[in-house]
């Protein structure tokens, strides 16, 4: 039972046998969007996508149409599709890369045509071996059928699309880290300004960077019109979106639901989604938008999946990953594990991020293992405040990229929501959860 009667836009072919093959894709309406797009002037496509209010699905939620309009006027222009998906508990792009690579190719081709790109790249997270195989096979097939290459479908327009493997580094998901990586270097994020991709991107050329799921929406928008997409969802949060539901739910998985009209409660409890908390336990807290987001409590379950409303609640929808933590969860341990992730992934360019993440991880571990000190909570908050002064959302930026200022989210959430639990750890010299 679908939650609302919105169509499945990006997951329509998930579950269809051999959904990754060109024949399957074409038999299900594939490449019709490209055919139509090539009959339209590029500016008209940008208008349609702007009218759709397609918010980027990679984390920052910037409107795709506006991004395409902001390119510095210079040639060449490049398109880079971000398939690096490494935000903890996000697993939707992985699914799309493996199961519907042609939808990504088609979305990328239409986008490349709309922004007059000279070449398109799909950066695929290195660990996604099958995703790389499916994407490469899709490019081979599409090229042979004349969807990629010179004079596409007789239109006179030509482009090549290159599948590029990463090699394991979360920071390469950040758009400027990704561009450095695509240039064959370490994935060190670049300083903005001036290095906004639209201004100085790949090889210092104006560049569009869009997420895999963002791209996957484009063929549908071209075929059905921006207004049809904007008619779904609420306000700016238009259309549908995939949420990766994980943690202590009965049915973890990727669920495409209508934005704005669906709630966190639906994601966790509806039988068509998470199906409830395991063992019918109580829900203690949840992570609404990836490891970088502030947590929410059960009192916020009826919050709509609306980018702006979740922002007003002091956190974000981020990468579309929601993690349920039931009543048996040790919140010190949860915050520690997320912090350890950041400590491992910090690229090391900025002192607050590099040093702060390591200290925080050590202090949290000490509390969790029972060696915590009375003033450790203050110490944690003090270090967090040094990384993101004021501890507000969105965080103040003290570093080159947003990774650093994201580190405090889980720690500050855990302390604000479960202070007693930290105190018990320190007083009793260990975890009451065993």
């Amino acid at each position: 039972m679908p939650l609302t009667d919105a169509p499945r836009i990006v997951t329509a072919r998930i579950g269809v046998p051999e959904s990754w093959r060109l024949e399957t894709y074409v038999a299900n309406g594939g490449y019709e969007g490209l055919r139509k797009a090539l009959t339209m002037p590029p500016e008209k496509l940008v208008e349609e996508v702007t009218a759709a209010s397609l918010l980027g699905r990679g984390g920052a939620g910037f409107e795709a149409g506006r991004k395409w309009s902001m390119l510095r006027k210079a040639e060449p222009v490049y398109l880079v599709v971000n398939g690096d998906e490494s935000e903890p508990a996000t697993f939707k792009d992985h699914m799309l890369l493996e199961n519907d690579p042609h939808q990504i190719v088609e979305g990328a081709l239409i986008t490349a045509y709309a922004v007059r790109a000279a070449r398109a790249f799909v950066y695929v997270r290195g660990e996604f071996a099958l995703g790389l195989e499916r994407m490469t096979a899709a490019v081979n097939e599409a090229y042979e059928r004349g969807f990629i290459g010179p004079n596409i479908l007789g239109s006179g327009w030509s482009i090549d699309l290159v599948v590029h493997p990463g090699a394991g580094a979360y920071i390469c998901g950040d758009e400027t880290g990704l561009l450095e990586s695509l240039e064959g270097k370490r994935g060190f994020p670049r300083i903005k300004p001036p290095y906004f991709p639209a201004v100085y991107g790949l090889y210092d050329a104006p560049t569009v960077v869009n997420n895999v799921e963002t791209m996957s929406n484009i063929p549908w928008i071209v075929l059905n019109g921006g207004a049809a997409f904007a008619g779904l969802g609420e306000g700016r949060s238009a259309g549908t979106r995939i949420f990766s539901v994980a943690g202590h739910v009965k049915r973890p998985g990727n669920y495409e639901v209508e934005m704005g009209k669906t709630t966190f409660r639906d994601l966790f409890y509806d039988p068509a989604c998470g199906g409830g908390i395991r063992g019918d336990n109580g829900l203690k807290a949840f992570i609404p938008g990836g490891a970088s987001s502030y947590w929410l409590g059960p009192d916020q379950l009826d919050l709509a999946l609306d980018q702006d409303k979740v922002g007003q609640a002091g956190t974000m929808l981020g990468s579309g990953s929601v993690v349920a933590m039931d009543e048996t969860t040790c919140m010190v341990r949860a915050a520690w594990r997320i912090t350890r992730f950041f400590a491992h992934e910090s690229c090391g360019q900025c002192t607050p991020c590099r040093e702060g993440s390591g200290w925080l991880e050590k202090v949290l571990r000490r509390i969790e293992t029972g060696a915590g000190r009375d003033d450790d909570l203050d110490l944690l908050l003090d270090v967090c405040d040094n990384i993101a002064p004021g501890l507000t959302w969105p965080p103040q930026q003290t570093t080159i990229c947003p990774l650093g200022p994201s580190i405090p989210s889980s720690i500050v959430s855990a302390i604000r929501m479960f202070r007693d639990e930290f105190l018990v750890h320190v007083k009793e010299g260990g975890c009451p959860h065993g």
Partner: protein, 189 residues
């Protein structure tokens, strides 16, 4: 011989042709080198540097940044267990402990027979099937301790050879189209 074979040099040339700037092919070529030897030998690093007109230090500098590129030998099977949040909530640390006992090595090391390297990794984006792991980047989900034992037995016996190629082989599908013709959209500069 740990320089790239003639066939792999050709693969490297094909990769370079796909990019407006040759250095962009560095990581893809390092994957080819790693596929050849299972890890990045000093000779391969030097050879890749030659092919791209870089110094070995530049290649080394890039390679050391990435978790998947190994500058020391790795077991034939790289077992990567995720312990990040979704997996941790579903028993990943218990699985990791079991794996360490079963293989007789701590995370970060290789069995004496060179068959298995065990490592603890960050989220591998298979969280819907937590706890999960990858063997040479082929994914296995909902891994109970019993399932882990079976998996190890199968790998030892070569029963999964079709699904799990030796360490270093990432993408078994090669780009077959528009290789030499990639020049048609070359930027004039």
């Amino acid at each position: 011989m740990a320089r790239l074979s003639a066939e792999n040099v050709q693969r490297a040339r094909n990769l370079i042709a796909l990019y407006p700037v040759p250095r962009s092919a560095l990581v893809p070529i390092l994957h080819v080198a790693q596929e050849q030897d299972g890890w990045l030998t000093p000779e391969a690093v030097e050879h890749v540097a030659e092919l791209l007109d870089l110094t070995p230090a530049q290649v080394h500098g890039t390679a050391t940044f990435y978790d998947m590129l190994f500058l020391e030998p790795v077991g034939r099977h790289l077992v990567s267990i995720c312990t990040n949040i979704a997996c941790m909530l579903n028993g990943a640390y218990e699985l990791l402990e079991h794996a360490e006992e079963q293989l007789g090595v701590k995370a970060g090391s290789t069995t004496a027979d060179g068959e298995f390297t065990l490592e603890e990794v960050e989220c591998i984006a298979d969280c819907g099937r937590a706890p999960c792991l990858a063997v040479n980047w082929r994914f296995f989900g909902n891994v109970s301790p019993g399932a882990f034992d079976e998996l190890v037995d199968d790998l030892r016996a070569g029963g999964l050879a079709g699904d799990v190629p030796p360490h270093g082989t990432l993408c078994r599908v090669r780009r077959s189209v528009g290789l030499e013709a990639a020049a048609w959209d070359r930027d004039p500069e």
